[in-house]
């Protein structure tokens, strides 16, 4: 068993055919439903098609060309603010050999686009990017072949330019006139005539994002901006704690309030619909005051989360078991790291619009997965799936499974209560803070041994965590569905298997270590609502591993960067580490003379198979207040073939700042019954006063190499780089997040 684990992992790292197969299975598990896998093709065995072509092999699922030459590209992925729309358009335009502006991109819509599961896990480029790249190349090939047939000229002599195929004699066949009904309705083949990266005109260019201008000039860009005719406004009255039952609500007065159209109650699901938004808000306040709840929630002691986690019943999963007869290390080291629950905290609370008309329900939602959300909503309402359409509309920043799926379910229920009218549900700030699923609290125990030469010879990693995914799923994954009079049961949590992983994501050290063992103590008991938050377990595992690497380096008397290089073979990893260190001036720039300064370094490859990211940073710790601030950061990232380096840099900058905020400031707070961090004053995050002075991101391009997801690659390294820098500045090692001012001040004493 352990040998087999090692082989498939090595195959994954080497990117062989096994890689694609495991992606395929991971894709199904992402869907987290019990339905049989989608039929892939009519061939007897699944062909090794790139990316999401496995799930949707027909070319016209991805690329459609009208008779007038208009080109639509479909993706099952969603724009979350990460710039994916632009990147995918660049890919399609490049391989179709057309101008960027010719491409119209349609994103996740259960009526129009392929099912690509969730826009998550930094998979969009690897899944959708690869599918579109290959599909577009194959479409171009088909267009050329068709034109060649009409021109009576060998295909090899045809060229493409400006959305037309050109014959040697100059005859032009526009793409529009070449397509017939069936031309593109063919299954993709495993190989494609891809362009040579050295010929790229659109890919590997910092093309301005297509979605930004509207967002900065008042254009309609978000689900919150939708205003279909006849739209009415709804607000939900959520309970004061998990699982609370609505005992009674005297809504007589609320029904009479101005503009109120309906008060909807189904079991403990309580909502009010009004003509105008502020009327809905005032009615919600009155309705909440009139509601009486029976509360039963029992939350753990927030001050003793570590002991709580390790005391829970666990399913132990051996993630890695690579034993070597212990020759006995010269030095052994042990450390335990922890983090509390962390919130997404998107600036725009969740929102959805839904309309039930002629038996068909349409939901506009910013869910990360329109298909799974659609399936769950259909099950909740007892409707056939084909009668429910979920259309992705952008929300504010999406960093995982937030309240979007639930807001969609809320809107669906209310649309059913008021058929024929679009109903807009807007969660309040307090509801978003209290009801979104959090990144789970985690505890990690690390043990390692060094030999006389300062090499790590043995490594033990144990991680305790809840699941990192409770996404829809069955109807019971939806908050509303669990609170109905006939409630749907919450589905049991399941671990996401490696190589993706959940709580064990990135738990396998990428370093060269002869003997290593990784155990994931999967904890099914979830008193606090949890699910996927950007990088999943990758944040905490990398924070722990990279902090521990620094502790080991210190024990070995080695420089942190040199120590890492000593244990890294992968040349791409080494280059990323060396680049970040060199651009930061790790060995060349003299240390700042200002008081309280420290430097830190960290590196990881997201999931050990996506993008590589190394970060060096300098922090400043104020002795009197204990406050730590990042002053400067330099990052290097390798994302494979670069499509839009500005997009990558934007994501890494954002990851560094967001991760810094998680690391230094954040923890969800609760008492024995209720979540108490319900707004920005009780859950403070980074503000402008703490933003670094300088930040540089160096993107290393790898022409022709597979795309590597980069949206989450910065979270873990940033956290560890900050912790290592604080340790350097203060002489104290902080292993429990957040590394707050109070903790630093307490450690530094008077």
């Amino acid at each position: 068993m352990s040998a087999a684990t090692v082989i498939s992992r090595r195959a994954v790292l080497a990117g062989s055919g096994a890689l694609l197969l495991s992606f395929s299975s991971a894709g199904r598990l992402f869907a987290q439903d019990n339905a049989p896998p989608q039929p892939v093709t009519t061939l007897p065995a699944p062909p090794p098609l790139p990316g999401s072509l496995k799930q949707a092999p027909y070319l016209d699922s991805w690329i459609r060309i009208d008779a007038d030459g208009a080109i639509s590209v479909c993706t099952g992925k969603a724009e979350l603010g990460q710039g994916i729309k632009t990147a995918l358009m660049q890919i399609a335009a490049e391989e179709l050999d057309v101008d960027f502006d010719r491409i119209k991109l349609i994103t996740a819509d259960t009526a129009l686009t392929p099912n690509e599961g969730y826009t998550a896990g930094s998979h969009s480029m690897q899944d959708s990017g690869a599918a579109i790249m290959n599909a577009a190349a194959q479409v171009r090939q088909l267009l050329i072949a068709e034109a060649a047939t009409r021109a009576g000229v060998p295909a090899a002599q045809m060229t493409t330019q400006d959305a037309a195929v050109i014959a040697p004699d100059g005859r032009r066949f526009g793409y529009g006139e070449l397509v017939s009904a069936q031309l593109l309705h063919v299954a993709a083949t495993a190989t494609s005539p891809l362009k040579d990266p050295s010929q790229y005109k659109i890919m590997n260019r910092r093309i301005a994002r297509v979605d930004i201008p509207a967002k900065l000039t008042g254009g309609a860009a978000f689900v919150q901006d939708l205003r279909p005719d006849g739209m009415v406004h709804a607000r939900i009255v959520r309970p004061p704690s998990y699982g609370a039952q609505l005992a009674s609500v005297d809504d007589a007065a609320v029904r009479k309030m101005p503009g109120v159209l309906q008060v909807v109650r189904d079991g403990s699901f309580l909502a009010v619909v009004a003509q105008r938004e502020f009327q809905a808000i005032e009615a919600m306040r009155a309705l909440a005051a009139a509601a009486r709840w029976n509360e039963t929630a029992k939350l753990p002691d927030a001050a003793r989360l570590g002991a709580f986690l390790t005391g829970l019943p666990a399913q132990d999963i051996t993630v890695l078991d690579r034993q070597r007869p212990a020759a006995g290390g010269a030095k052994t080291l042990s450390a335990t790291y922890s983090r509390p629950y962390l919130a997404h905290g998107s600036i725009g609370p969740s929102c959805a619009v839904a309309k039930l008309e002629n038996d068909t329900l349409t939901v506009w939602t910013h869910t990360q997965g329109v298909y799974p959300d659609r399936d769950a909503i259909a099950e909740m309402l007892g409707m056939p799936k084909e009668k429910v359409r979920c259309i992705h509309s952008e929300g504010a920043g999406c960093y995982g499974h937030n309240g979007a799926d639930d807001a969609a379910a809320d809107a669906a229920l209310l649309a059913r209560a008021i058929p024929g009218r679009p109903v807009r549900v807007q969660w309040t700030r307090e509801q978003e803070h209290a009801w979104e699923p959090y990144g789970p609290a985690m505890l990690i125990k690390l043990d390692a041994a060094l030999d006389d030469g300062g090499n790590i010879v043995n490594w033990d990693h144990e991680v305790w965590s809840n699941t990192h995914s409770m996404r829809p799923g069955p109807a019971g994954s939806l908050l509303a569905a669990r609170s109905l009079d006939k409630p749907f049961p919450e589905p049991p949590p399941k671990p996401i298997p490696m190589p993706e992983g959940g709580g064990d994501r990135n738990s396998i050290p990428i370093y060269k270590i002869p003997g290593a063992r990784v155990i994931y103590h999967f904890l099914p008991t979830m008193p606090v609502r949890v699910s996927a938050l950007r990088a999943l377990g990758g944040f905490m595992n990398v924070f722990a591993i990279e902090s521990f690497m620094d502790e080991l380096a210190a024990a070995a008397g080695a420089d942190p960067v040199a120590f890492r290089l000593k244990h890294l073979d992968d040349p791409r990893a080494r280059e990323v580490v060396a680049t970040a260190a060199e651009r930061f001036g790790w060995t060349t720039k003299p240390r700042s003379a200002a008081p309280g300064r420290g430097r830190g370094f960290a590196f990881a490859r997201y999931k050990n198979l996506a993008a590589y990211c190394a970060i060096a940073c300098e922090v400043e710790v104020d002795r009197d207040t204990g406050r730590a601030r990042m002053r400067r950061a330099v990052a290097a990232v390798d994302s494979g073939q670069v499509v839009n380096s500005d997009g990558i840099a934007n994501q890494i900058e954002g990851a560094i700042l967001q991760s810094m905020s998680w690391t230094l400031y954040e923890s969800v707070s609760f008492n024995e019954r209720r979540i108490t961090s319900v707004d920005w004053s009780s859950y403070p995050i980074l503000r402008f006063s703490a933003v670094p002075d300088e930040m540089e991101i160096h993107v290393i391009n790898r022409p022709g190499r597979p795309f590597l997801g980069s949206g989450e690659a910065g979270q873990g390294p940033a956290a560890a780089a900050v912790a290592n820098a604080v340790a350097d500045a203060t002489g104290h090692r902080f292993r429990d997040l957040p590394i707050s001012a109070e903790r630093i001040k307490a450690a530094m004493g008077v």
């Binding site: 306040r285 509801q431 209290a434 019954r673 319900v678 920005w680 403070p684």
Partner: protein
Amino acid sequence: MRLLRFALAFCVLLALTAGVFTIVAWRPAIGPIAPPAVNSFDPALVKRGAELAAIGDCDVCHTVPGGRALAGGRAVPTPFGSIYSTNITPDPETGIGQWSQAAFQRALRLGVRRDGAYLYPAFPFDHFTLVSDDDDNALYAYLMTRAPAYAPPTPDKLPLPLNIRFVMFAWDFLFLHPGPYRADATHDGAWNRGAYLVDGLGHCGACHTPRNLFGAERADLKFSGSEVEGWTAYALNDLSPAPVPWNAAALRHYLRYGYEDSHGVARGPMTEVAGDLHAIPADDMRAIATYVAAQMNHAAPEQDVVVQGAEMQRDRGTTDTAASADSQSNALRAIDTKNDEGAVIYAGACAGCHEGPRALPYGGIDLMLTSAIGGPSANNLVNIVLYGLPAAEAAHAPIMPGFAGAMNDAQIVALARYLRARFSDKGPWTDIAKSIHDTRNRGRPLTIGHPAVIEPAPSGRSTAGAQ
């Protein structure tokens, strides 16, 4: 000739007086010393010094916001001009690095600098004179083990003759009662400990006691309240305007956490005080709270203030039509809330937070409970309405938006009138418009204050969860 003789006699008399005056008033310099080594101090003494420095809020006056800690340079506004705090880091050239223990003690006890010059009582040595020798030594140990910062002093902006420090001799003669503290036998140990801390290092009276023409605290009006840096420091004696009376437990919570459920949130200069008091030992806090509570003789020690606050809200009611108490003023009865501009503003701008379910310190306080509305002057309310409570970097602290941009003076007047009438049983304010004008036109920014740390009190008090 007689005139000349008179003139001569007069001059001789003047010279003699001046001579006597100089001889009596002159203070010698105390010789400089080499800065003592940091490890020459007992760590326990340094720790005690840190606690005492927190009680004395040394860092608040002696640090420019965002500047080096204790390096001075902060303007302390007085009616006479601006005085700038000094560098009390152990920097030998620009700080107190060359001060001996004796020099340090003399400064606190008698208000005299190492070089013999008089200190201005903006440095409240009229309070610090009460500090005991042992505590002076602890403070000395603490300050001498801080990081030295090179920061030359900022010249004070005082008119003649006040810019001649020598004249402070007269002030000291009249108003300084040199310490150290002597116990009052008619009170118990806890009270005395409290008096020692509050009247000594805590120097609460420096803000909470009105001053006379010479800028000295009026002993006959001790703790009767005063105006400081644009804020009203409320009375801490029988004149306390708090709608729910304070008791020791409430004070302990307020001073430690910067808020209390039945009184509100510390604002203005008090945020810095609460921030400093956050970590002081429980015994010291207990003593301080006991003493202050004792000044407010009408405090209700038996009844829990939370219960009292809740009862008050129930009695008054929170609906527009509540006007049950007989003592309601005519102003309240006359309010037509449908057409009252202040009521409309309150409903749209304030009620969402101030009648919402989020508990203190984060959610807005029920306005019936706050001295800002029950107090004698509109000053603090106006400050808050104009500038709010800005977000503090990374701190768990209440955030309130300011309305200086959205509301004009007339609108704030209407709002303040409404709030006063609806949420208090006192007569209308007369100073609203002037308060607004003065605050908007202050020469220097209002001290809003960011608490160093306000942590939520241990669970039990916060009961409201999400809506």
